[in-house]
């Protein structure tokens, strides 16, 4: 792939990378005929972001002959590419043009900045080929939809401290509110509660299908809001009941950006006066999965046994163990919601992992998928029920 960006587009591209860096440690470049997609997933698979730049965004956009129907992505370390775009003010001031070339034979991405005064900066970055990973979120199936200028959402979240991890968005026919979320415990007396509400009229578009409170990670969203504000784009929010993912998206003629975040399965009841202690707590044992999931193939048991109770399988910023959350999803389907809580767990331990499946059907990942590839949407329902015991 060979593409050229000019002037302000370079800054927008850099800003997209900044937003994606809030999500994960790796950036995937996926050149497609409909444009260049930049994607990132966090290690817990509970946040996904994608920026798609249409060919019109570029001064020149050519896919090489090796592209085509193959969906090979280039995976780069965020810490390799972010420094190139770190100082947006410098880019704005001195970069006239940027050329990006992907050379599959030698596994290098060449990013060249043509700057003022004839100076050229060339960066040859190593990449890894990875399976195309894409989450297609069925936003048209979401009962609740909000749309507002980025500024409105930005002003809402600005009241929460930068350290605030999660927030709860509540929707009723009369209002939309945001409040900070905290994990239950004895500290509830020391926490500052912030809640703000907006009347439905404040939104460009307001649709409520089901009243809900969804709790998601604010930090991962801030990048997109900042991007949207700098481009003065409205932000659309698609969501449903607690536990289903929430999708924030912006788009204009030449680009679209999406952030999909998982939400807590069963958030605390409304009002800060009722902290999370009221939620049911059950002891965690590895055998639990055997109880709930009758058909567990032998290999799963072995895998499960290898993971002692309380251990996280995947390190992530939110510490959410994938095994747990996959089970929780199944539990949610099978019985009334109840989940396991460790003494020192974070709220994210009950976050459903936002799951993807690689486009290639041979993938061994058996996690049930919330947001899967569009071709397999119909088969999803069946697959979820069939894959009772996730093979990890």
């Amino acid at each position: 792939m060979n593409c050229v960006l000019e002037g302000n587009a370079v800054k927008a591209f850099g800003k997209a990378i900044h937003s994606l860096s809030r999500i994960g440690d790796e950036l995937c470049l996926d050149p497609m005929s409909k444009g260049l997609a930049l994607r990132s997933v966090n290690s817990a698979h509970s946040a996904y972001a994608c920026f798609l730049f249409s060919p019109m965004f570029f001064q020149k956009y050519n896919l090489g002959p090796e592209q085509g129907s193959e969906t090979v992505q280039c995976k780069l370390l965020m810490k390799s590419i972010l420094p190139l775009f770190r100082c947006l003010a410098t880019i704005e001031r001195s970069v006239e043009r940027c050329q990006i070339q992907i050379n599959t034979p030698n596994d290098r991405v060449k990013i060249q900045f043509f700057c003022r005064h004839g100076i050229t900066k060339t960066h040859d970055l190593c990449f890894e080929e990875s399976e195309a990973l894409q989450a297609v979120f069925a936003s048209h199936l979401c009962p609740n939809v909000l749309k507002a200028p980025a500024r409105v959402l930005g002003e809402m979240v600005m009241h929460f401290p930068v350290s605030q991890e999660e927030i709860t968005l509540s929707i009723t026919p009369l209002r939309v509110s945001l409040r900070n979320y905290f994990e239950g415990g004895n500290d509830h007396m020391k926490i500052m509660y912030t809640e703000m509400s907006l009347h439905p009229d404040e939104f460009d578009y307001f649709q409520i299908g089901v009243e809900s409170d969804i709790t998601f990670c604010l930090k991962e969203l801030r990048g997109l809001l900042s991007f949207a504000e700098s481009h003065c784009l409205p932000v659309s929010v698609h969501f449903g009941a607690a536990g289903k993912p929430v999708c924030f998206s912006v788009e204009d003629m030449i680009l679209e950006a999406t952030v999909v975040l998982s939400t807590l399965i069963d958030s605390e009841s409304r009002g800060p006066s009722q902290p999370a202690e009221t939620l049911t707590v059950a002891p965690r044992t590895p055998t639990r999965c055997a109880d709930v999931v009758p058909e567990s193939p032998g290999e799963t048991d072995c895998r499960k046994a290898a993971v002692p109770a309380g251990m996280e399988l995947v390190a992530s910023s939110q510490g959410s163990p994938i095994a747990d959350s996959a089970l929780l999803l199944l539990l949610h389907h099978l019985s009334e919601p109840h989940y396991q809580e460790r003494a020192n767990s974070t709220p994210a331990s009950s976050i459903c992992s936002l799951l993807f499946r690689a486009k290639s059907p041979e993938s061994g990942e058996g996690l049930p998928v919330l947001a899967c590839c569009s071709d397999e949407e119909e088969a999803e329902e069946e697959d979820v029920m069939m894959m009772r015991s996730p093979t990890l």
Binding site: L76, L77, K79, S80, I81, P83, L84, T90, S94, R108, H117, G118, I119, T120, K121, T122, H123, D124, L125, C126
Partner: protein, 279 residues
Amino acid sequence: MPLSTQSQGDAEQYVLVASLDNARNLSNILKAITFKDHAIFSATPNGLKVTVEDSKCLQANAFIQSEIFQEYTIKEDSVGFQVNLTVLLDCLNIFGGSTAPGVSTALRMCYKGYGYPLTLFLEEGGVVTVCKINTQEPEELVDFEFCSTNVTNKVILQSESLKEAFSELDMTSEVLQITMSPSQPYFRLSTFGNSGNAHYDYPKDSDMMELFKCTKTQTNRYKMSLLKPSTKALALSCKVSVRTDSRGFLSLQYLVRNDDGQICFVEYYCCPDEEVAED
């Protein structure tokens, strides 16, 4: 000025007396070469030269000509001593290093000769501080034998363009490779880091390029750790000259303007890391 009311008798004993109305004209330039604790002062009737060396591979010199000083008296042809540079800088900034306009620390630096400490009289707002810093026997300085007749390639660039490059350099690279050539890429800085390679190219007709005199294509590598301190000098400077000689030794000369607009020079010499086959 209180410092000038010192008795003449005192002045007789010193082999070197140098005074500045604004001590920052000395301390700022010394900060550009402070990467080691010790510095060697060599004073001649032309002015003051302060040298810092690292592992015999890197040498930095700061030159402050006698004209910069409000008073500069030297009784011998050459006066040399070694002091702790960090301590000296702390003393020069003893009044807090305020950058408010109109407020400056006045300095009178005096040295009686071999075996005597370096005495600093510092005054700000009527308060006088006297500092006596122990001196040591100056260590033998490396002579890099860098002379203009051996210079194969020379460019003079406006510092602004290099500042950006140096601030973005991939620090995971162990070396900085400098290519100078009469043909493409003319002047190139390259790094080889963990994530990949980076090249910064400056064409010979760039308006940042004030002088371009390259006779032969040369590529040399220098340890990044040795060159890193030079970014302090680069930050202060408005122009920099980059020269390499036939052995691949590097000379970086920085033109620094002090608070009063006077010109001082800082120079870095660095020996190459390894022989790279020349094209």
